[in-house]
């Protein structure tokens, strides 16, 4: 049974915590950084999933088979890195576009939230009007 290196476990925890914290921010740049850090965390986890015994590079011929690291998590992590790379650049472009169109890169409110706020404002406005009418009737 493999056990996980404590340092690595702490680093993992730190990466995930930082990543999720940044993910909850409003600015798209911070969200982007959060996703990058989470991606690193996930990749590190994949590496650790391959077993914690220090392995040497899995190159046939250079290294005896018994000392090789598990190559599968490495292949998976590489693929994941490629994907994260592509999506990071995409998010960057999106953040720039948002900044260009809106003047900021903050995630906006939900459509329903905005609708409810508008309704609330209208109601408040209507209340004020009726109060004013009542006032004017009273003074007359």
């Amino acid at each position: 049974m493999n056990t996980v290196n404590l340092t690595m476990a702490v680093v993992l925890g730190g990466l995930y915590a930082t990543g999720f914290y940044l993910l909850l921010q409003r600015s798209l740049m911070r969200v982007l950084l959060g996703i990058v850090i989470l991606g690193h965390g996930a990749n590190l986890l994949l590496q650790l999933a391959g077993g914690s015994q220090a392995g040497r590079p899995p190159m046939l011929g250079d290294v005896p088979i018994g000392q090789m690291a598990d190559p599968l998590p490495q292949a998976m992590a590489l693929t994941a890195i490629v994907i994260t790379f592509a999506l990071t650049t995409f998010l960057l472009a999106l953040a720039y576009r948002a900044w260009q169109l809106l003047g900021h890169d903050e995630v906006q409110d939900d459509v329903e939230d905005r609708r409810i706020r508008r309704l609330e404002a209208e109601l408040a406005h209507a209340d004020e009007e009726t109060e004013q009418e009542l006032d004017s009737e009273a003074t007359r």
Binding site: G41, L46, L48, A49, M76, L87, F90, L94, L101, Q108
Partner: protein, 511 residues
């Protein structure tokens, strides 16, 4: 023979490359796209036939045998869903070509649309056909990455928000997916689905339950299961009609497919799964009530989509052959119907210039054809007898009653209730948009406004493409008998899992 399994994945990818290289020749791109999708439709039909007659077709990529190598597997379920999905993709491509030509003329090329669409097709095919968890992740990423590009093309101010919500939510769920793969690999030492099923049996029950739950969450985000659905009605309605149609029809269904495939193949469970039934009930009710509160036609359809995801989760929750037969039938029916409804909504918008139901009226007089095109899929969605939805829903209801637990029967009652709410929701659209006073179409004074989007011409290409899809929904109802039989065989395969495991792990040489 087994090479045919690679066609739906590799052909569109290669064609996407060509399509990108020929970015300046609009007609080349269009014909290439239609040709490739046409070939895949035929290929998927052949795959379905072979899988049904001779059992699952397996291709071990590069000749490396599973569980070490990557396997592509076409069993009945995968081939059936692939066939339906590609038919819908073909029709939607036809529609969007029609729309493009109507709006911008024949000569102009939309450099990115066609390649990205083909890449999306490749991702969807890979998701259906893949035999291991990590490739499922790759398939989702291919699919989602192309969908990010499609949803943010020609960004206006309000599309940026939609794109952001969609991208961030999908990316977070992808990170969770990757984490889940890491944990699965750490626990079992394999990511091959067939092999996982064997390895999971040797683990203590607690980690198995945790992994199952993690998979439910990951695929729950992808398939818009309540309470993880919030991103969908916020993002889908903002994309152009054909793109919304293809997202609504395929992306969430692929999530459901992944959920079914992983849960049933990998984990052992008794019929009637309380957790999934509860989630299904929540999804149905929240979606349907959300739909009733909407004034925006596309948002309403998106909420209906969420609610009907609940039907599929319900079938999975029943967790026996009858339930799964119902789910498979329901997915087939819903893929065609949901795509059609969004395409029709695109047509409606072009006549009225608005997506606000309160500003529509008298469409039945303006265009009786559009009224018919809307009525058929709408009634089908609500499950009114002669249409495809009825067949699928009946199968689900019978399964829900048949399994015999109290929880399943409560959920069955919710299914009936949600069907009524759906009927009410589409009837509301009908009375607001198609009946009543004929209204002047509205021009678009403010492009950043979310409701009034401006009128446009509709070309014959767009109407024909929608017509083809409406016919295919009718066809699903006409062919209900054979479809139900195939679904039942597919469901039996799923529950026993023997054929799948034997085909993937037993073959080896792949020839």
């Amino acid at each position: 023979m087994s090479e045919l399994v690679a066609v739906p994945v590799l052909l569109p990818l290669g064609a996407a490359g060509l399509s990108m290289a020929f970015g300046r020749f609009a007609d080349v791109q269009r014909w290439l796209g239609l040709l490739v999708l046409g070939v895949i439709v035929v290929d998927a039909a052949v795959l379905l036939y072979f899988a049904d007659v001779h059992g699952p077709l397996v291709l071990h990529l590069g000749g490396w045998a599973a569980p070490v190598g990557i396997a592509l597997v076409a069993d009945r379920l995968a081939a059936l869903l692939l066939l339906i999905s590609v038919i819908v993709m073909f029709a939607v491509l036809l529609y969007s070509i029609g729309q493009r030509i109507t709006d911008y003329g024949r000569g102009t090329a939309s450099t990115t649309f066609h390649p990205i669409y083909l890449v999306l097709c490749s991702g969807v095919s890979l998701a259906y056909l893949t035999g291991d968890l990590f490739n499922l992740f790759v398939a989702f990423e291919i699919m989602l990455a192309s969908s990010y590009v499609l949803i943010t093309r020609r960004t206006t101010a309000n599309r940026v928000r939609a794109g952001m919500t969609y991208t961030i939510v999908s990316l977070s769920s992808s990170v969770l997916f990757l984490t889940m793969i890491g944990l699965v690999y750490a626990a079992t030492g394999t990511v091959n689905l067939a092999d996982l099923a064997l390895e999971m049996g040797e683990l203590p029950p607690a980690p198995v339950r945790a992994l199952a739950l993690l998979m439910v969450i990951v695929f729950g985000v992808k398939s818009a299961m309540v309470p993880l659905h919030f991103w969908l009605p916020d993002s889908y309605p903002n994309a152009p009609a054909p793109i919304t149609a293809i997202f609504a029809a395929l992306l969430t269904k692929v999530g459901i497919y992944a959920m079914i495939r992983t849960q049933i193949l990998v984990f052992e469970r008794e019929p009637s799964w309380p957790l999934m039934l509860t989630l299904a009930m929540a999804t149905m009710i929240v979606g349907a009530l959300g739909a009733l509160a909407q004034n925006d036609l596309n948002r309403m359809l998106s909420f209906l989509l969420v609610s009907h995801i609940g039907f599929m989760l319900f079938g999975l929750g029943v967790y026996d052959i009858a339930g799964l037969t119902g789910v498979i039938l329901y997915i087939v029916h819903h893929i065609t119907v949901q795509a059609t409804l969004f395409l029709v909504s695109g047509l409606i918008t072009r006549y009225t210039g608005t997506v606000a139901l309160s500003r529509m009226g008298g469409l039945a007089k303006i265009s009786p054809l559009v009224a018919v095109l809307f009525a058929v899929p709408a009634l089908s969605l609500a499950g009114v007898p002669p249409f495809s939805g009825f067949v699928a829903k009946l199968a689900l209801l019978r399964a829900g009653v048949g399994v015999g637990t109290v929880w399943a029967q409560v959920a069955t009652a919710v299914v009936v209730l949600t069907s009524l709410l759906t009927l009410y929701a589409v009837a509301r659209v009908w009375s607001r948009a198609f009946w009543g006073q004929v209204r002047e179409p509205e021009g678009d004074p403010d492009p950043s406004d979310e409701l009034v989007v401006g009128t446009g011409d509709t070309s014959r290409g767009m109407v024909h493409a929608t017509g083809v899809l409406v016919l295919s929904t009718v066809l699903v109802a006409v062919l209900a008998g054979p479809l139900a039989e195939v679904s039942q065989r597919a469901a039996t395969d799923l529950i026993t899992g023997e054929a799948y495991r034997a085909a993937v792990l037993g073959g080896g040489s792949g020839g």
